[in-house]
Subunit: 363 residues, 2 copies
């Protein structure tokens, strides 16, 4: 891998398009001078933005395409009109061809996952990719996955998620044997979904060398940092992530209201300004922006569609960490062990039912 990190940007992705993605790239470049960009998208929109940023322009390449994936389309529709030629596809393709170390998009999650899977393929032994989030906790950060790549998971898929998630935590957090928990409702062994219980049984019995399985965890254990890796299927994972983000935003509003309510509160705010700034940074959901697609032959990062430039920059920085630490090679190595037999009895055994394809992915 070169010293530089080369990023392929779906410049048209996200609710705000090029003005935000280009500005985000500029912010990321300030923080990480060793970055090069390939901007894919409508040149007539992107070129003026780069002209206004000569430093960024000097380290960038612009590849024009007229086709952009729409937020509201199904993955199958997006694949039909967007394959080979959309800005999203071309960004992923740059990773495939080795021209970029990672692809980044704030666009339609389902389409991004479908195109990534179609073009990059999944790693050997992995059936479905996942989206991992870095969740800020009281102890630091935890890897939470899947936060929306697909709905429903059988026991084998949950075990795959545990293995990939643990490999990611090893690399990003420098841990030898990250602790892993299965997200459930109630910590007692008797509770929860059939497939979650079965996954727990497999994880306990297999006793993987680089994964310390700690049993079930509940929604409030995530922020507590009870385990390094929280494993769940994508529907519940996405709802947990967004409920937490919503709560952080809500409390931020309360805080603003409280600190402007009276004169003495305003004076207090002035004295505690620096503390508030630090607090705001820790609470800022933009800082945790960016989900890593795991289980693919290549690195793809999804930014929130509604992110501003700051959020986009955070997603680029997350990609930096992932690429510099050679996450992909290390996940491959973790998966390279003699393959465990798939459990036969849990597949489609009620509970969450048959796995859905990426049509369930979130935006």
């Amino acid at each position: 891998m070169s010293e530089k990190v080369r990023i392929a940007l779906d410049t048209m992705g996200g609710d705000h398009g090029p003005p935000v993605t280009v500005a985000g790239a500029e912010l990321a470049l300030e923080r990480h001078p060793g970055t090069e960009f390939i901007f894919f998208g409508n040149a007539s929109l992107i070129a003026p933005l780069l002209d206004a940023r000569p430093q960024l322009k000097a380290l960038s390449r612009l590849v024009h395409t007229d086709v952009a994936v729409r937020m509201e389309d199904k993955p199958s529709q997006a694949l039909r009109y967007g394959r080979w030629k959309s800005s999203m596809w071309l960004a992923i393709d740059a990773v495939k061809k080795g021209e970029a170390d990672m692809a980044l998009s704030g666009g339609n999650t389902g389409a991004l996952m479908a195109m990534s899977k179609f073009n990059l393929r999944t790693l050997p032994g992995i059936e479905r990719p996942a989206i991992a989030a870095l969740w800020p906790t009281l102890r630091g950060e935890s890897v939470v996955l899947d936060v929306g790549a697909s709905i429903g998971a059988d026991a084998d898929h949950l075990v795959d998620l545990a293995v990939i998630g643990a490999a990611t935590a090893r690399i990003l957090f420098g841990l030898d044997r990250p602790t892993v928990g299965l997200l459930n409702i109630g910590v007692e062994e008797v509770k929860g979904l059939e497939e979650v219980r079965e996954a727990g049984r497999i994880l306990r019995e297999e006793n993987f060398p680089h994964l310390d399985y700690r049993g079930f965890v509940e929604g409030d254990d995530i922020g507590r940092g009870k385990v390094d890796v929280v494993v769940t299927e994508g529907f519940a994972g996405n709802i947990a992530l967004k409920a937490a983000e919503g709560t952080a935003r809500q409390i931020g509003e309360y805080l603003r209201a409280a600190m402007t309510r009276s004169l003495s509160a305003k004076i207090g705010y002035l004295f505690a300004r620096a503390a508030f700034r630090q607090l705001r940074e820790r609470m800022d959901p933009r800082r945790a922006n960016g989900g890593v697609f795991l289980g693919l032959n290549g690195i793809v990062i999804k930014s929130h569609g509604g992110s501003d430039a700051e959020g986009f920059a955070a997603a680029i920085e997350l990609g930096h960490g992932v690429v510099r630490n050679e996450l992909l090679d290390k996940i491959k190595a973790a998966l390279g062990r003699p393959h465990r037999p798939r459990s036969q009895n849990t597949r489609h055994s009620g509970g969450q039912g048959a796995p859905h394809a990426v049509s369930g992915a979130t935006s």
Copy 2:
């Protein structure tokens, strides 16, 4: 209904037992003098606590039983040894017999739901009861259900939840036509689970008179107060609730740390003390303690097992509101309309699969 609110307490329920439940009752009595209590549980533990609180004792009755439901037991086990004689059963039975207006327990949720269902029975047309939470939002409060009574829901059950939830919001918030959203991942109609989509179709087509269906909502829309009623199956609902509670607690920790970090922050804190107190109250997850069991012929309230006396008092106060507003009669009236045909094609149609019984309930 009498002017007084009569509360049957499973005094043994919760992680801390009688010292917390009795102290919680005392706090609630201070705030609502029109309350009477029946304490069910071990008299040798409870009587001294009442002796120390003469005012509470004067308004209370103590019914001794040796049997208490254990937190770790399955609902079926709890029913086996706890039916007819446990403190939990007796509290529910007091509601059945009309001796109390509501039962309250901080004990094993699955057992509480199983006993409530067994003894009180569900309302006509309701197959499975639900647990509703009052979720603090930027606009006030929303009803969120189901937050853990059962795992998985077909389209019909989600529609039932919408109807019961809307009736609850009408009564508690005084709204004529509460807005209702289905919790999903991604707002586009193409996304999400089969049964959630189907429930959306039914709600749109039926156009219920006292329910304004607004489509899908995401996890971060709950705290925003986008709709008055958020409908989801119990696994995702429980995880959302606990993830939000965990985040509130986490930010509280950040705030404490930030405000003691430097001298000027400490001075700022002193000036803004009143504002911080208000903020703390709004962020306090104990204030939102208490889930209402809906869909039963009687009012049962579940407190968090780990609550302190303050949290227990909040759960009692929630019950006050529910009882005084005659929630049960009004839900019955809402369900009393000519019964809509059940959709045949959605039951067990993949996705979340077959509904599980209360064995999936949370503690």
